[in-house]
Symmetry: C2
Subunit: 248 residues, 2 copies
Amino acid sequence: MNILITNDDGWGTPGILTLARTMLAFGHVIVIAPDGPRSGAGACITVNKPMYLTRIDGAEHGLSEAEIYTTNGTPADCIKLAINALFDGDESKIDLVVSGINHGTNASINVIYSGTMGACLVAAEHGIPAIGYSYDDHAMDVDLSNAEKYIPEITRHLLEEKMPYGVCYNVNFPVGAIEGIQWTRQSRAHWTKELEPHTDAEGRTYYTLIGTFINHEPDATDTDLHALANHYISITPTSIDLTAYQLL
Amino acid sequence: MNILITNDDGWGTPGILTLARTMLAFGHVIVIAPDGPRSGAGACITVNKPMYLTRIDGAEHGLSEAEIYTTNGTPADCIKLAINALFDGDESKIDLVVSGINHGTNASINVIYSGTMGACLVAAEHGIPAIGYSYDDHAMDVDLSNAEKYIPEITRHLLEEKMPYGVCYNVNFPVGAIEGIQWTRQSRAHWTKELEPHTDAEGRTYYTLIGTFINHEPDATDTDLHALANHYISITPTSIDLTAYQLL
């Protein structure tokens, strides 16, 4: 099996190192990850700019068996780089894309902003089974041992499910003890109070993104946010088909 | 009515100028658009970097009545900047977001890569009615008179439809004569042969994105690609809820 790993936090973060080591048991691990943070990249691709691949030695991270590259591109670019630069355009040679482990949840509306999930959507476009793993804590020194413990079992199960074309999985881990695993839908929610104003050295106003998260349906029990709040691992099947069929 | 206009081709392109002039008949036009091309930005947002708003005088473009800003951010950022920097965080003061006119189609899988549609998804997250308009030709000197003719009628109709929360519209115009308007779903398709290798001055290999488009279902008659190929304007209702419900 050829397993392609990427993320949006960038190469070298604890999440991707943990994920890559976990995947060694599944087959040949190829990592193509951004050379720095790309949080919020969504499915952004690099248009009209050069993209480079740089080979990395993973020995110091216990990844000497893995084939590792970084790029100045986005997570979505990483999938296209792998297919075309490493596998001569033949996506069928990649058996699985695994993205993450993201430092921070990608539940609910965050899926549209997530570079971790953007890479999975691109993989699904190409018919490659894809799973995004995220952990509900932004800290870089978070204890990922629960994720490490459950990822092999979840990955095996989802591969056996045989994902239909155009679908990938958005898996989010709760903080702390694990009560179980729940299939969920994407919660309705939105971000508010999203700009912080500042003044630069020339006296000009600039803004940085912040935000307060508003869950529209805190009482629903079938959502990703409900699963996480109740210490369940959330698995949301996620589609590249955005058609709102209820309006057709 | 407060109408917010953005795009991903950047301020000053014929598409956004045409759209802004067309919208003057609907109410107060506010433009916040990227200061240059952001094609392929999807719903990418700017994280941990400063964003600026620069006021522009639209008089030379017949837009002296409009309030116009450019930003170094993405199309998705433009929606967040408008809500928070211009309307004090109150999204209900924006009655409509119109994005485009994109130079190039955003039909089929392109919706996930489109900055034009990324802005609409963010508007839909915030409960603001949103329509993305795209024209099936990348040329900057393309004749947009058909789009200009139909946009007021389509906009009025879609506003009357009262979009449910979380849904926006992806409207694509065909090249040439218009046979009619068709409600459609997103076609299944993928991009292949997506990288062009080059050698830089230091002898290193780099890649740029290109691609060949593969329609998976050329015989389907209810898709956006079929509508465009048959000279129909395609209207696809598009959801921010990516849950693959058929797998739950």
